[in-house]
């Protein structure tokens, strides 16, 4: 379709300035068309109209990916996608009207990456990971994450654009086909997409890894491959460590980014929420050889992987929601006063049970302390000491747990409102399950006001397990007698 002039009317919308004339589509700012009495209906938010550029010579892929975007954007919800407004009939007049989000694309940060602090890179990565996780929770994989498709709002949150190559696990996938072609953008495409797998949330984790790699080093981890063989390279190759380009980068950041870029999806973060967790808790990242190395993976390792990868072919992946529910983030609230050993024991048993059935789960052990515990004592020194004391208490509590394979972290939160602090933490970290004692955190008040466990259970958006304490230890003797 040729460029439209401002004032052009389409199905109740009035076209204004052209915002973007890309190879695939024109994007215009639009408002509601004036009604018969000349008044303009005010829109709730600025709107943009996307019209695919289709001429007789265009391949089917252009229109199919527009159809995919229309199907998926119209059902997506939440703050990490532009709000859907309307769509035109595909066979008559294809267009898509959506919220126009005032924000910068990630490219803006890539252009000024020299001035970025590590904490800013981590914040950008966490914002992208949270946005991707919100799609995965709706059974959608984006599969074409790249700087041009990521907007960062002034408040730091991310909005994802362009769902033309996305995959909704509960819709027929129009882009799947017998030939299992690679569908994606060569720089950011994941290894499994190269062999035709569509629908693995960890493919989006990979793409976020590529963007973080470029943010941190200015280099592309796998270059810009132009051939099929070049694309297949990422099936076996580790990119050079980030610290080879920039030795001043912290080991934890390299650990995180290289984990995103692992050739085999199972070696990456199991969900985008796990990635966001590490990016927001750098001190809790467990640094391995991967984070420390400054030289690339050796020839023989690559050679062995290359041999294995030559046989790598398409394999269907499970539905995103099922896949990310296999790897929950479990949070346990460990009280630090008014608590019996029996309660602490029961909490630990409950955590062990939950971890036992979910080998990929990650555990966050949290305790909430009152702010005056630290502020009343002498300033900074006192604060770190109090924190340290509580951290080591948490670690001792977790000691008997078999945490092999489970990423575990320990957090001391400061708040006067325990329930609120737990809820906010669970929300902010995409926690899937909260485990806390049923009669801890204010047992004496139970009859008067809603206690902490009741408040958490009622207001949390995830599953909450309230643990009853097993028989108090002192009574075990009586039973035995």
């Amino acid at each position: 379709m040729k460029l439209l002039n401002p004032g052009h009317l389409i199905d109740g919308f009035e076209v204004q300035a052209c915002l973007h004339a890309g190879g695939m589509a024109h994007i215009y700012q639009v408002v509601y068309a004036p009604s018969e009495d000349g008044t303009h209906r005010a829109a709730e938010f600025p709107m943009a109209m996307k019209i695919p550029r289709m001429t007789a010579g265009d391949g089917a892929e252009n229109i199919v990916s527009f159809e995919v975007e229309l199907q998926i954007l119209s059902v997506l919800k939440g703050p990490h996608v532009p709000r859907f407004v309307a769509a035109g009939d595909l066979s008559r007049l294809p267009y898509l009207v959506m919220e126009y989000v005032e924000a910068q694309t990630l490219q803006h940060w890539l252009d000024r990456r020299q001035t970025l602090a590590v904490s800013e890179m981590a914040a950008l990565g966490a914002a992208m990971a949270r946005a991707a996780h919100s799609l995965h929770q709706q059974n959608v994989c984006h599969l074409d994450l790249k700087p041009a498709n990521v907007l960062i709002r002034a408040d730091g949150s991310a909005v994802l654009l362009d769902f033309g190559l996305s995959c909704h696990a509960q819709f027929p996938d129009l882009l799947a086909e017998e030939l299992r072609k690679a569908v994606g953008s060569p720089v950011w495409i994941s290894p499994e997409q190269v062999v035709g797998v569509r629908g693995d949330p960890r493919s989006d984790v990979f793409a976020i890894g590529v963007m973080l790699y470029e943010l941190a080093t200015g280099e592309l981890p796998f270059g810009e491959p132009a051939t099929a063989a070049g694309l297949r390279q990422r099936l076996w190759m580790d990119p050079p460590p980030l610290r080879k380009h920039r030795p001043d980068l912290p080991e934890w950041l390299q650990e995180v980014v290289l984990r995103c870029l692992a050739p085999v999806a199972a070696d990456r973060y199991p969900s985008a929420a796990h990635l966001a967790f590490d990016l927001t808790h750098p001190s809790q990242v467990k640094v391995t050889e991967r984070g420390r190395q400054t030289e690339g993976t050796g020839f023989w390792t690559h050679f062995k992987r290359w041999v294995r990868a030559s046989g790598m072919a398409y394999r269907p992946s499970p539905v995103p929601v099922q896949q990310i529910e296999q790897v929950p983030i479990i949070m346990v609230a460990v009280p630090h006063h008014d608590v019996s050993d029996a309660t602490l024991y029961s909490l630990r048993e409950a955590v062990a049970r939950s971890l036992g059935i979910r080998p990929g789960a990650r555990l966050a052990c949290v305790t909430v302390i009152s702010p005056n515990l630290t502020s009343s004592t002498e300033a900074d020194k006192g604060e770190t000491q109090v924190h340290r004391w509580h951290l080591s208490r948490l670690q001792q509590w977790a000691q008997p747990l078999d945490l092999g394979g489970h990423q575990t972290s320990f957090h001391v939160l400061e708040s006067g409102d325990v329930a609120q602090a737990l809820l906010r933490y669970a929300e902010g970290n995409h926690v899937n399950m909260v485990i806390l004692g049923a009669a801890t955190h204010g047992v004496q008040m139970q009859r008067v006001v809603a206690t902490v466990p009741i408040k958490v259970a009622m207001e949390a958006s995830c599953t909450v397990i309230l643990v009853k304490q097993s028989l108090p230890f002192e009574r075990l003797a009586e039973v035995a007698a």
């Binding site: 089917a60 892929e61 199919v64 159809e67 199907q71 595909l90 066979s91 509960q170 819709f171 027929p172 996938d173 129009l174 882009l175 799947a176 086909e177 017998e178 030939l179």
Partner: protein, 253 residues
């Protein structure tokens, strides 16, 4: 138009009523019964009365192989009599002249505004071929398109729910729908939908199957509806029909 597609009721009154109630709650304004109204189940006359009632009000009704068998049951003395044909004998005995006349007049296919409805396959409907895979669905679609019908073909007969669609490739691909979740089915994109069985599900869940095709929204949703399948099984036993028919409803197999 919001079209309810109900197939393979198999004389299961409890399942039919549950689906009708469910569909009415969804705002359905057109009914289509894709054949096999009778056979296996214990309530052929009550089911036919219900369907004939709706047909009088404009519902579309097609003939299936079991309807044909009930009209012309294989001889009882036949040594090769199968369980199905034993049931057909019994059903035949239940039907009144009015029921038989209704079944006799039913068409095998119905084509309307881009939709083709058929009990088995559009590929020679009178031979009752099963649309049970991508290639069978492909042959079904090819036949429909060759006769300028479709591009949406809606079928029953196989007792499983599935959607066969065409993406960027040439061949149809199978998709397992999530019950209750509307899927886009744009009018320009060819597909064959197997709506499943209302009265004798065979995928391991006893819940009744049917589907709703929403032409305006260009969406289709496959439904699973719980119903009193134990009552339906008990009725089969009371009627003295083969025990296997009753067990099937209890297990959904």
């Amino acid at each position: 138009m919001k079209l309810a597609l109900i197939s393979d009721i198999h004389a299961n009154l409890q399942a039919l009523q549950a689906c009708l109630t469910h569909a009415r709650q969804q705002g359905v304004d057109q009914w289509a019964f894709l054949g096999d109204l009778v056979g296996y189940g214990a309530d052929p006359t009550a089911v036919l009365d219900e369907v004939m009632d709706l047909a009088a009000q404009g519902a579309w009704v097609l003939r299936g192989n079991h309807d044909e068998m009930a009209l012309h049951p294989p001889g009882a003395s036949n040594a090769e009599a199968t369980l199905g044909s034993q049931g057909a004998q019994w059903t035949h005995g239940q039907l009144t002249a009015g029921h038989r006349a209704f079944l006799t007049d039913l068409p095998l296919t119905l084509s309307q505004d881009g939709l083709l409805l058929v009990h088995a396959s559009a590929d020679r409907p009178d031979t009752w071929r099963y649309v049970d895979g991508e290639s069978a669905a492909g042959r079904c679609l090819d036949q429909a398109l060759a006769q300028q019908q479709g591009p949406h073909v809606l079928v029953g007969h196989v007792h499983h729910q599935a959607l066969y669609y065409r993406g960027t490739g040439r061949h149809l691909m199978k998709f397992d729908p999530t019950p209750g979740l509307p899927m886009p089915t744009p009018v320009h994109r060819p597909m064959v939908a197997s709506v499943g069985s209302c009265g004798q599900p065979r995928d391991g869940s006893p819940r009744a199957m049917y589907a709703i095709y929403d032409r305006r929204a260009q969406k289709m949703v496959f439904h699973r509806v719980p119903y009193n399948h134990l009552d339906a099984a008990a009725a089969i036993r009371r009627a003295g029909l083969p025990e296997f028919f009753a067990q099937r409803l209890e297990l959904g197999r």
